[in-house]
C-alpha cells in the first residue's frame, strides 16, 4: 500500500526534499496525525462540535427568505428577471402539456412509437408504445403527461444551456479551467441540495421544479460537450487548417461533427438526470408522477406508489434506450431518406391523433385501467403479516431492518458522535491525504468545519453513519460481484441487462420497494442507497478488471501464477484506479439516496430539508442543504485519488 501511494502521490520531483517527503509520505502523515492527536487531547478535550464555534444562521436566513417572499411581487429583480423566467417556464410547460393533451393518448403513443422508430429502430419503438400503453393501463396517463411536459421543457433548456457552456469550455482554456471544478462538484452533489435555493427564489411550484431540473441536468451536457470538443482528433483539425479553413469552418465542419458521439451521450445523460430530478422535484411542486409517488410514500401506500413508480421506470427505460440507440445509429451510418421517414412519422402521429379525437377518446378511457394499487396493497399486507417478522430461522424483513439498525447503524452513529469533534476532522484529513493530495484534504476538512459552523454537526454525523454503513455493504457486495463478473464472461452477460435497467432508474423509485419490504426508518433508506449504488460499483469494477492488459495476464500465466495469485498480484493492483473510482462513485451515489431517504424516515439532513420545505421553514432547510453540499464535497474529496481524471459514470 505504502509504495503505491507514494508512486501515485509523488510528482517527478527534482528537489531532494520533496523527494524525501514523497517517499515517506505515509509515515509522515501518520506522525503528523499522532502529534495532532496528542495536542488535541491536551488542548481541546472531547465532545461534539462546541457551540461557541457555530453560527446560528436561522435568523439571517429567515430574514432573507421573508424579504424575498415580501418583495417577490414588487422588487425590480423579481419583476424584470425572475418573474419573466418564471412566466416563460410556466407558459412553455403549459403549452407542451396542452399539445400533449390535444394529441390525445392515441396521438402521443403513436408519436412516441414513430419517433422511436425513426431514431432507434423497431424494437425501441415497440418498447415505447408498450410503455405508454402500460402508463395508461395503470391509470397514470395524466400524471405521465404532466411529467413529460415538464421534462420536455427542462431537457430542452438544459441541453441548450449545457451546449453553450460546453462550447465555451471546449473552445477556451480559461473558461474550461474556471468551469471544470464547478461542474465536477455539481456532479457529486445530491439532488436534494438543489431544491432549497430555487424554492427560496421562485417559491414552491412548477418554475422552481423546472429550474432545479435544469441546473441538475445541464452539467453532464456541458461536460460532455467540452470533452468532445477538446478530444477532437488533432490530426483532423490540422488537416482542416492545412486546407485553409477559418475558425468557424473548422468548428462547424470538423470539431462539432467529430464530437457528435459525446454530444448525443450528453443529451442522453441530460435526459436521464432530468427525469431523476423531475421526479424528486415533486417535493417542490413538480406535480405529475413524482408527486403521486411522493404522496403515496408519505402515507405509506405502497400500491399507489408502485402504480406511479412503474411509469417512471418505463419512461426512464424508453428514453434511455431510444436516445442511446439513436446515438449509436447516428455515429455508425449515414442517414438515408431522412426527410421522407420523418414526414411519414409526422403524418402517422397526426392521423392517430385525429382518429383518437374523432372517436372522442382524448383522455385514456377509464374502463381500460387496472387498479394495481389495491392488489399490491393486499400483497403488501400479506407480506406485513407473514414476512415482516417471526419467520422461522431467517427472521422477517422488519427484523432484519431492526437488527441492522441496532447492530450496525446505531453503533456507527453513536461511535461517530462519541468521537471528539476534532478527531473527526483529523480522520477526514488523514484519509484524504492517504488517498489524494494536500488540496483535496484541505477541501474535505474545510467542508467538515463548515458543517460544524452551520450547527448541524449531529444530524450530519447521523447522515454520515448511514452513508458509511451503506457504502460498506455496497463495496463488499459490489466489488465481489464485479470481480466475479470480471473473471467470468457468462456472469457478465447475465448481469449486463440487469445493470442497464437499474442504472437508468431515477433515485426516487428505489424507495418504493424498500418501504414495502422494510417499512420506514433508517434501515430502508440505507437499503435503497445500497441498491441504487450497487450497479455502478459492479460495473466500474468489472470494467477495471477487464481493462487489465491481457499481455500482462498472459505473462503472469506463463510464469505459472495460479488464478488466485493472478487475482491478487496482477488484476486487483492493476485495477486499482478503477476500484478507487468505484469507491468514489459508490460514496457519491449512496449519499444522494441516503439524503432522499429523509422522505421515508431516514431522518438526519434529508429530513431537515423535507421538513423545511413542508413547514415553509426555509432557514432550516437551507442550512441542511448547505450541510449536504459540504458532506458531499467532503466525501468526494476523501475518496478522490490523486491525479485522477474525472471519468463520466
Amino acid at each position: 500500500m505504502s509504495t503505491t501511494v507514494t508512486e501515485a502521490g509523488a510528482p517527478p520531483a527534482r528537489l531532494p526534499l520533496s523527494d524525501v517527503l514523497a517517499r515517506h509520505r505515509t509515515a509522515l502523515i501518520g506522525g503528523l496525525a499522532l502529534v495532532a492527536l496528542l495536542l488535541g487531547a491536551l488542548l481541546l478535550g472531547g465532545g461534539a462540535w462546541p457551540a461557541r464555534f457555530s453560527v446560528d444562521l436561522s435568523g439571517p436566513l429567515g430574514d432573507a427568505s421573508d424579504w424575498i417572499i415580501d418583495n417577490r411581487d414588487s422588487h425590480p429583480l423579481f419583476l424584470y428577471f425572475f418573474g419573466h423566467v418564471s412566466n416563460a417556464v410556466v407558459l412553455s410547460v403549459r403549452a407542451v402539456y396542452l399539445v400533449l393533451l390535444a394529441a390525445g393518448w392515441a396521438g402521443v403513443t403513436a408519436g412516441a412509437g414513430l419517433v422511436a422508430w425513426r431514431l432507434a429502430g423497431l424494437r425501441p419503438a415497440l418498447t415505447a408504445v408498450a410503455a405508454f400503453g402500460v402508463c395508461g393501463l395503470l391509470g397514470m396517463w395524466v400524471p405521465t403527461m404532466q411529467t413529460l411536459a415538464l421534462m420536455v421543457v427542462a431537457v430542452a433548456a438544459s441541453v441548450l444551456l449545457g451546449l453553450v457552456l460546453g462550447l465555451a469550455a471546449g473552445l477556451s482554456d480559461r473558461v474550461h479551467r474556471a468551469l471544470r471544478p464547478v461542474l465536477d462538484t455539481m456532479q457529486v452533489l445530491p439532488a436534494f441540495a438543489y431544491l432549497l435555493p430555487v424554492v427560496l427564489v421562485f417559491g414552491i411550484g412548477v418554475p422552481a421544479a423546472v429550474l432545479a431540473t435544469v441546473v441538475y441536468a445541464a452539467p453532464p451536457m456541458a461536460r460532455l460537450t467540452a470533452l468532445g470538443l477538446r478530444g477532437a482528433d488533432a490530426g483532423v483539425l490540422e488537416a482542416a487548417a492545412s486546407l485553409g479553413a477559418t475558425g468557424r469552418q473548422r468548428l462547424l465542419t470538423a470539431r462539432l461533427p467529430l464530437a457528435r458521439k459525446e454530444l448525443l451521450l450528453g443529451v442522453n445523460q441530460s435526459i436521464m438526470m432530468a427525469l431523476s430530478m423531475a421526479v424528486i422535484a415533486s417535493v417542490i411542486g413538480a406535480g405529475g408522477l413524482g408527486d403521486r409517488v411522493y404522496q403515496a410514500l408519505a402515507s405509506v401506500d405502497v400500491g399507489a406508489a408502485l402504480a406511479a413508480g412503474v411509469p417512471v421506470v418505463l419512461l426512464a427505460v424508453v428514453l434511455d434506450r431510444v436516445t442511446a440507440a439513436a446515438g449509436a445509429r447516428i455515429g455508425a451510418a449515414p442517414a438515408r431518406g431522412t426527410g421522407l421517414g420523418w414526414a411519414a412519422a409526422a403524418a402517422g402521429t397526426v392521423a392517430a391523433a385525429l382518429v383518437g379525437r374523432s372517436a372522442g377518446r382524448l383522455s385514456w378511457p377509464d374502463a381500460w385501467t387496472v387498479d394495481v394499487a389495491a392488489f399490491v396493497n393486499r400483497a403488501v399486507d400479506w407480506m406485513t403479516a407473514h414476512l415482516y417478522s417471526g419467520v422461522p430461522v431467517i427472521g422477517g424483513t422488519a427484523d432484519w431492518a431492526a437488527r441492522f439498525t441496532t447492530w450496525v447503524l446505531d453503533p456507527v452513529r453513536d461511535g461517530l458522535r462519541w468521537l471528539p469533534w476534532w478527531t473527526v476532522l483529523l480522520l477526514v484529513a488523514v484519509l484524504a491525504l492517504l488517498v489524494g493530495t494536500w488540496r483535496t484534504a484541505a477541501t474535505a476538512v474545510l467542508a467538515m468545519v463548515a458543517i460544524g459552523v452551520l450547527g448541524v454537526w449531529d444530524p450530519a454525523l447521523d447522515t454520515l453513519s448511514q452513508v458509511l454503513a451503506a457504502v460498506a455493504v455496497t463495496l463488499v457486495a459490489g466489488v465481489a460481484t464485479g470481480v466475479a463478473a470480471g473473471r467470468s464472461s457468462r456472469l457478465e452477460r447475465l448481469l449486463r441487462p440487469v445493470l442497464d435497467v437499474f442504472q437508468t432508474m431515477p433515485q426516487f423509485v428505489y424507495l418504493i420497494p424498500v418501504v414495502a419490504l422494510f417499512g420506514v426508518g433508517r434501515a430502508p433508506a440505507v437499503a435503497a442507497a445500497v441498491v441504487y449504488a450497487l450497479p455502478a460499483v459492479v460495473r466500474i469494477t468489472t470494467q477495471g478488471m477487464r481493462a487489465v492488459d491481457p499481455v500482462v495476464m498472459e505473462s503472469s500465466r506463463s510464469l505459472g501464477a495460479t488464478a488466485r495469485q493472478q487475482l491478487w498480484r496482477v488484476q486487483l493492483p492493476l485495477a486499482r484506479p478503477a476500484l478507487l473510482l468505484a469507491v468514489n462513485q459508490g460514496v457519491v451515489l449512496v449519499l444522494a439516496v441516503v439524503i432522499i431517504g429523509g422522505l421515508v424516515g431516514g431522518g438526519a439532513l434529508g429530513y431537515e430539508v423535507v421538513f423545511g420545505l413542508a413547514q415553509g421553514d426555509l432557514a432550516t432547510g437551507l442550512v441542511a442543504g448547505a450541510a449536504i453540499v459540504c458532506l458531499g464535497l467532503m466525501l468526494d474529496r476523501v475518496t478522490q485519488p490523486a491525479g485522477k481524471e474525472h471519468h463520466d459514470a
Partner: protein, 360 residues
C-alpha cells in the same frame, strides 16, 4: 528505378524556387525567441539547451530551396524536426525566426486571409494519419478542401469524383473512411490534396502507417502522379529507401539541422559525415549510384566498343550490360562518349570504395 524522372544535376537558373527557406528556426518552450538571436544559446546542443532554457529547438538554422517540379525529400529519424519543418512552410506551426518565401512572396508576413489563400490554393498537405473526417463519405472528404474554398456543392462533388477516380478509388465514393483500408484512406488523403489543384504538395510521412506492400504501391502511385503532372512535392519520411526512391534531392536532418543536402547519389556516394555514412551503410549502392560516378576515361580502343549506357543509368543496369557483353560498356551522352565502365569499376562502387579521382 526506371520510372524515376531524370534528375537535373544543374538547376535551370532562370526559374525561381517554389519554396525558399533561409535560416529557419523553430524553438518550442518558454521565451523561445531568444534562442536563435543569442549566438551562445544557438550553439548549445539539444540537452544543454533544454537544461539551460527549458526550450527544445526542433528546427535549427535550416536553409534550402525547393525547385519547381522536383520531389524534395526531407529525411531524418523521429525527433529530427522534419515534421515541424514541413508545418512551418505553411505556418501550421509558426516559425520562431528566419525567412520563408513561396514564389518569392514572403510567407511569414502574410496576414490571416492571405495565409488562408496560400493554404487553400497553393500548398496542400497529406498527413501520416490521414486526417479524414470520419462522418463523411469518401467523396465528401475529397471535396472538403473545395468546400472550404466555397465551391458550390454540385461542382465540388463533380471535381472530387474525378480525383477519386484518379487515385483508383472508383466505386468507393460513398464509403466512410472507417470502411477503408489504411492504403485506401491515404489515397483519399492524396485525392483531397490533389483536388484543390495546389502548386505544391506537402507529404508528412504519408506512408509510415501503412504495411510494406501497400507502402510500395503508394510510392509508385506518387511516382506515377509526379511523372504525369510534374507537380512540385515536398516529401517527409524517416525511411531512407523511400527517400532514395522518390527524391530528386534529399535533405538529411539530424537534431533540427540539415546535415547533408544532395541527390540520392551524392548522399550515398559521398556522405558528408559519419552520421550520414552510418545511415547509408546498408543501402544497395548499385541501385542508387549511376555509371557517371563509376566510369573512368576511355582508352582509344574502348571508345568504339561495347554497349552504350546513359550517364544516369544505375550501376545495377550497367552490371547487366557489362556481364552480357563480357567487356566494358560505354557511357554515352548526346552521342559523345564520356567514359567507360568495366568489371572493376562497377565492383568498386558496390564495394563502397572511394570514387576514383579521375572519374570526375
Amino acid at each position: 528505378m526506371n520510372t524515376e524522372p531524370p534528375a537535373p544535376s544543374e538547376p535551370p537558373v532562370s526559374e525561381p524556387p517554389v519554396f525558399s527557406v533561409r535560416e529557419l528556426w523553430k524553438v518550442f518552450g518558454p521565451k523561445a525567441g531568444r534562442v536563435p538571436s543569442d549566438p551562445a544559446l544557438a550553439a548549445l546542443g539539444p540537452a544543454e539547451l533544454r537544461e539551460r532554457t527549458g526550450c527544445t529547438a526542433a528546427v535549427r538554422e535550416v536553409s534550402f530551396d525547393v525547385r519547381r517540379g522536383e520531389v524534395f525529400v526531407v529525411m531524418g529519424l523521429s525527433g529530427s524536426g522534419k515534421s515541424t519543418l514541413v508545418r512551418c512552410l505553411t505556418r501550421l506551426i509558426e516559425p520562431t525566426s528566419g525567412a520563408i518565401a513561396i514564389d518569392g512572396e514572403d510567407v511569414l508576413s502574410m496576414d490571416a486571409a492571405r495565409l488562408r489563400r496560400l493554404r487553400r490554393h497553393r500548398a496542400a498537405m497529406v498527413f501520416q494519419h490521414f486526417g479524414l473526417l470520419p462522418h463523411r463519405s469518401v467523396l465528401d472528404n475529397v471535396a472538403y478542401g473545395l468546400e472550404i474554398q466555397g465551391v458550390p456543392r454540385a461542382e465540388r462533388r463533380a471535381r472530387a469524383a474525378e480525383f477519386v477516380a484518379k487515385v483508383g478509388l472508383e466505386g468507393m465514393e460513398h464509403r466512410r473512411p472507417a470502411q477503408l483500408s489504411g492504403g485506401q484512406q491515404q489515397r483519399v488523403g492524396l485525392a483531397r490534396a490533389l483536388a484543390v489543384d495546389p502548386e505544391v504538395l506537402l507529404f508528412d510521412e504519408p506512408f509510415s502507417a501503412l504495411d510494406p506492400l501497400i507502402r510500395r504501391d503508394m510510392q509508385e502511385e506518387v511516382v506515377r502522379l509526379h511523372g504525369e503532372e510534374g507537380r512540385t512535392m515536398v516529401f517527409i519520411t524517416h525511411d531512407l529507401g523511400e527517400a532514395l526512391k522518390l527524391g530528386d534531392r534529399i535533405a538529411l536532418m539530424r537534431d533540427g539541422r540539415i546535415v547533408q543536402l544532395g541527390t540520392p547519389e551524392e548522399i550515398v556516394g559521398a556522405p558528408a559525415d559519419d552520421y550520414v555514412r552510418d545511415f547509408v551503410r546498408d543501402v544497395p549502392r548499385e541501385q542508387v549510384m549511376t555509371v557517371r560516378s563509376a566510369m573512368r576515361p576511355a582508352t582509344a580502343a574502348e571508345t568504339d566498343h561495347g554497349p552504350a549506357l546513359a550517364p544516369g543509368a544505375t550501376v545495377h543496369e550497367a552490371i547487366e550490360a557489362v556481364v552480357r557483353s563480357g567487356g566494358t560498356a560505354r557511357v554515352v551522352e548526346h552521342g559523345r562518349c564520356l567514359g567507360v565502365v568495366g568489371h572493376a569499376d562497377l565492383l568498386g562502387v558496390v564495394a563502397g570504395l572511394a570514387p576514383r579521382e579521375e572519374a570526375a
